[in-house]
């Protein structure tokens, strides 16, 4: 069975990346570069805390709230939700990740947390390992599945089996990164205490 595109809108009209969204993304990236280049500690702290908080919340929300909801929806409803959600996620997630990691690394360097002499250096290395696992899952599973779903949905006759399989991959990967975010919360609160 193939699902037909709605009559009022052809499937190929669905944008892969919302072009207008590139403006705030560019502004955030420019602000991070400026903050790092000027060594502005409050700015680094701001970008790390705000980016990290939003990244963690979004991962948990996607993995443990949206994921189970999506699984229970009928396929046409999943497709409609996916069409609206995924283009935004494609811009939001890489921006949040870049913001959090770039600012976080510079902040840790500035505060001496990267030094092996730092009393909780082990926790810092643990946080790097958690981030590495999340990056591998996000870049190899989540993001490609996200893009592939959007391409499939642009076809005049999207294949529901392909969409379902990619969405399943997306939801499980989001669950894994959500669980890893719990580990991040433990590590970050250990470091901040």
């Amino acid at each position: 069975m193939a699902i037909a595109a709605p009559a009022e809108q052809t499937a190929s009209d669905t944008p892969i990346v919302p072009i207008r969204g590139l403006i705030p993304v560019g502004a955030v990236i420019a602000a991070i570069v400026a903050t790092i280049a000027t060594n502005w500690v409050w700015g680094l702290d701001f970008f790390h805390v705000v980016g990290g908080g939003m990244w963690t919340a979004l991962d948990l929300f996607m993995g443990f709230i949206i994921g189970p909801i999506m699984r229970s929806l009928p396929i046409p409803a999943r497709i409609e939700l996916t069409k609206r959600l995924m283009p935004k996620m494609l811009l939001i997630m890489p921006t949040l990740v870049t913001m959090t990691l770039a600012a976080g690394f510079q902040l840790a360097r500035h505060n001496g947390m990267l030094n092996t002499s730092y009393s909780r250096h082990g926790w810092v290395v643990a946080s790097m390992i958690v981030v590495a696992v999340m990056a591998a899952v996000a870049l190899a599973l989540l993001q490609p599945a996200n893009i592939a779903v959007l391409f499939e949905l642009r076809k005049p006759q999207p294949n529901p089996a392909i969409v379902q399989s990619l969405m399943r991959r997306f939801i499980y990967a989001a669950g894994v990164t959500g669980a890893m975010q719990v580990a991040t919360l433990v590590i970050m609160t250990r470091l901040a205490t």
Binding site: I29, L139, I147, L166
Partner: protein
């Protein structure tokens, strides 16, 4: 449908080697880490990436036009990200052999991401 090669899993492995290399080097800061383990991890990451390219190249009826479209744009995006990371390395006064290894690890990472997205999209594309 024929069974697709395990490009995604290999991509994760390659990114894992890159991450292990970067974490290894960063864990020694501010001292300089012995480079041999990082070079081995870099070689492993590059070898897995090359194997992945070969696996894709050997796919019959592969939608190369779609792969190039997706991978091309993703390369542009991740060149910006890689540029930022390279800027951070230079800003933090990373120099010499460590900078070379870090840059090559970054290059392998930057090639892996477009390859994985291009593959995932193109494998579901029907060739004309």
């Amino acid at each position: 449908m024929t069974k697709a090669p395990r490009v995604t899993e290999l991509g994760m492995l390659s990114i894992g080697f890159v991450a292990a290399g970067v974490i290894y080097l960063a864990a020694y800061l501010p001292r300089r880490a012995p480079l041999a383990p990082a070079v081995i991890l870099l070689a492993l990451a590059a070898a897995v990436l090359a194997a992945n390219f070969l696996l894709i190249a050997r796919q019959p009826n592969f939608a190369w036009w779609r792969f190039r479209q997706v991978a091309g744009w993703m390369t542009l995006v991740y060149l910006v990200v890689a540029g930022m990371l390279e800027f951070t390395f230079l800003y933090d006064r990373t120099r010499g052999a460590v900078l070379v290894v870090m840059t090559l690890l970054l290059a392998v990472f930057t090639l892996n991401v477009p390859l994985l997205s291009g593959w995932t999209v193109a494998r579901f594309e029907t060739t004309a």
